[in-house]
Homo-oligomer: 325 residues x 4
């Protein structure tokens, strides 16, 4: 849910690095660049080029050192990049969904047996375009649980029970997503949860063109105060696979990045000075954000074509899940 | 949810009368006409005309006899009729919402204290226009529960905690609505549930112009097989107020009614015969429905302007609830 | 546009046969059955089975006799039937769109040269689900006219100029569709118009599963009074290909059909009588429709899943057109 | 239409001032500040405070000097500001719509007689949320032209004929908006056109909270190349009143503003240097925009709640127009 933009940033500010991104692969890059490292002990990466427009990167955090470096728990983080999604043909959408299926399937098989029940959860608000991906995917999931229970004669032997919910957002329901999910999990007893969520990204070109799949759960923003409740094996008692798709960049991030790049250019041209360089290190542009009125509003940066992008991404993720489960 | 159309009819066929309507006031009329009664022992009715276009009828079932006569449990059933809703002005919508507030408030006060928590539940499928009323109302409910929990300083002393969910439909989630609600109620512990649902009506002129408020719970259709789980005090452990709005008429109902009226006209004109009269009593038009292909499809009869009607009705019900709670 | 349901029926009632359908192939069947004919002079038909779920029927009206028999002008009428569209897979949707492409292409080639400009027109109201097909298809059309005019360097040599408009409906615009189109055609000078429209069908199983392509234009209903303006070569001065898709059945049609079938069953069982048989011939059920309140409302019969069906049909028609032009 | 963001900027860069806003009142402020003027010869302004949350500002450009100063033609520009629209109550929306009615009515009366026909035009793309305001307002306009033509008995004597169209955007239709409008105006012969359009604003707090009404026409962006066709009395031959509502800020604008503010703060703190100050004057941040990838994408800055804001603004504008005409 996009409610978490602001809060994630606050949390990040207490970390050694202010990553301002939910993507493990972006964080690893930022950390490596900042520390001038070739690689980070405890983080392994493999890359694969599926086609001209589709790339896969698998980041595995294997120990505490990797965990602390980029502020993400031990586990698997797979990033699928789909270029030019806006003008993607039907074949490219199909191809991308097959990559999602294959990566998702291998993660699922690590955690549950072939016929064990899966609950798919779509976070977000269907009435807010850039936050509507989760609920829209849920509407396309091929649920089977009720058929297996009520009409077993119509279901193939060995079909996995699948159910799906879109619990809504705290601002609309007044209830923590975790409270709703806890109740549903307690009553329906699935063996694995797949959570789909819209994320904030750091870079504009990730928007609605990157899919991150991880098996370490997710922290949706509570949007009010600090009390946020993680959705993970720890809180739900069963493994949680998260599928996150960046759909917006926070405006404050873009403005800060813009000023950083600006100072960087000045340095290159030797037009910079000490005061400026120091400012950049401190990332201390609060006054600018204030003057821009960024703080008062929940402003997002998004492509004008976000409605279309969400539709294409919904097809990729929904088909990807349907064939994986 | 509109999934219950077919099943309600099956259930009704085992009752002495085949009501084919969820509205208590329609059922009472049908029973009285069929039995040539002026009134039914155990059922009390009062009528009130609020304005030229708005009428209220309060049906109270007081004992087992009333219950058996019309197949509805002991309790209160309030029917609010809003004529010409399609072309209603802003003032008329406001007026109608005030009537909903007043009737709803008096029912709520019978069951809970002023500050006790209420959960509002919107049944139905947001992606199917005539079934989308419930989720759309939920999006407009002023929830306060999270504010009271996290930001008490911004909330007026004595504000009632309100939360709201749209759990989706069995066909999309694979989970019984009752299972989802049971989980949420167990975790959030409200003292009263208000359920909003789209209903099937018997008569075309009720569509999206009638609101039934009752305090006896609701039976959403499971849509698959017979196993349906009632949402009521009995199953949830707390009082359940149901707000039902007819948005469709089942096609089979309309066709049967058409043939009944047809035979009735023939009788009046003395063009009927014994065979025909007998047929009518038996309501045995299965062959007709079959030939019309009615059975194979989930066909509904609805006004072409249903999208607009749903919008207006959403405003009436959402404002009605917001001011009542 | 669905505004024409009522008016078409009035017009039809002055014809020897009351067809109550816009589909040439349904009209031919009704005429043949009523006249106990094997074939109609002036009407030629070929059928083709593309796959298990897709069938094509090509009706050609070749002379005045054929024209008068079924009340449709001389020309080509191609009916493509797609069974089980609701649960169609991506491949079946692709297959169906290819059939549309192939039939449409052969009609286009009869009327214009390879590079001559085409205007695609989507009739209907985007805010009324069963009438939204036309505007939704327009949103998916690959327009090239502006690129050829402003950015010729980005367009392949020989690309046909294509433009597209959704003019809205009389009830929303206050302007006859023909007046809007006439103005656009006069200013942009295309050589052919393709019009997409939602139709009324006679039979439930045609709804959103049949596509009729014809080269004789279309008569959208004005919805108010009798003054309707045909969209055809005669009025626009250029050839008009119409793509019509049934999305509703008029309620009055269904009820009349139900009573006809009912009397038919009685005849078979020898339970009918002369009065009844006479009634049927006269199609004189006005009193029934009145008692059902059918006349006062613009009631339609539609599948509950019409939202989904419209989405799938939109994909088929839009892709079909994009590859044909 | 939001297609014009980029092009307006290009055009503006050839002007003495780079206003980056379509609002006359913002331009006047920028010009006054830059030239340290108290007032501009040829521009008159009056302000009125309607209520705590609603303010009106009337800017009149009376001669060539005023015209050149802020790059807007001679005429009237009324800016209505509605604070806190997102959480506006029904009464506040009603109040704001009454202000629109009153300002619009006085402009209309300057140009046409009481019963002369008006065409309302909604620019923009209904499928792109921040660009959907125009078409959505059109759907709410009370059109009367067809009633007066076909059903005069149902219309009060003296009713003004009103018609309305949403012509779509160049990217979807392939046709210049002016070509479509020219055709419609030639065929229907209205005496005045009212155009509704989503604009780009310079400041975040204008988004969906400001309404600019002017009687000097509008220049929608062609989006492709430079050929844009003004919608004005000059091109259409009849007066054109434009209602513009800012719904986005261009990302490049925000980033440039951010850097300007940043340098400004440095100057105040005496941490700036000559190179920096020069850069600011030249507004030469192209490299930053490039590095941010701003140029490649059509990125917009918008509030997360833009869907809700558009709904409320639609009500204000539609009611405002309906009562004014």
């Amino acid at each position: 849910m996009l409610e978490n933009v602001k809060i994630d940033m606050e949390k990040n500010q207490k970390q050694p690095f202010n990553f301002r991104t939910d993507l493990a692969s972006e964080r690893r890059d930022i950390y490596q660049r900042a520390n001038k490292l070739e690689e980070i002990e405890g983080i392994q990466t493999t890359k694969e080029e599926i086609s001209e427009n589709i790339k896969v990167e698998r980041v595995q955090i294997t120990n505490k050192n990797g965990e602390q470096a980029i502020g993400k728990p031990i586990g698997n983080y797979i990033t699928i990049d789909v270029k030019k999604l806006k003008i993607a043909t039907e074949e490219e959408i199909q191809k991308a969904s097959e990559v999602v299926t294959s990566e998702l399937k291998s993660l699922i098989d690590k955690h549950v047996q072939k016929q064990e029940e899966i609950l798919v959860v779509g976070l977000g608000n269907v009435y807010v375009t850039p936050d509507s991906l989760g609920p829209k995917v849920i509407n396309e999931i091929d649920v089977t649980r009720h058929l297996i229970n009520y009409l077993p004669q119509y279901v193939e032997e060995g079909t996995r029970p699948v159910c799906a919910v879109a619990p809504g957002v705290l601002g609309t329901t007044g209830i923590e997503t975790m409270e709703i999910l806890k109740g549903i999990v307690d009553n329906t007893k699935p063996k694995l949860v797949i959570v789909i969520d819209a994320l904030a990204s750091r870079s504009i070109d990730r928007i609605s063109s990157t899919i991150q799949i991880s098996d370490t759960g997710i922290v949706p923003g509570a949007g009010v105060g600090n009390t946020r409740k993680e959705i993970s094996q720890e809180t739900l008692g069963i493994p949680v696979i998260a599928i996150g798709i960046p759909t917006v960049v926070d405006l404050a991030t873009i403005v800060s990045d813009g000023i950083d790049i600006f100072i960087g250019k000045l340095q290159e041209d030797a037009k910079s000075n000490d005061n400026l360089n120091k400012l950049r290190e401190e990332d201390n542009y609060e006054e600018v954000k204030e003057a821009l009125n960024v703080g008062d509003y929940n402003m997002i940066v998004t492509p004008k074509e976000i409605d279309d992008l969400i539709e294409n991404m919904k097809d990729i993720v929904a088909r990807g899940i349907n064939f994986a489960v």
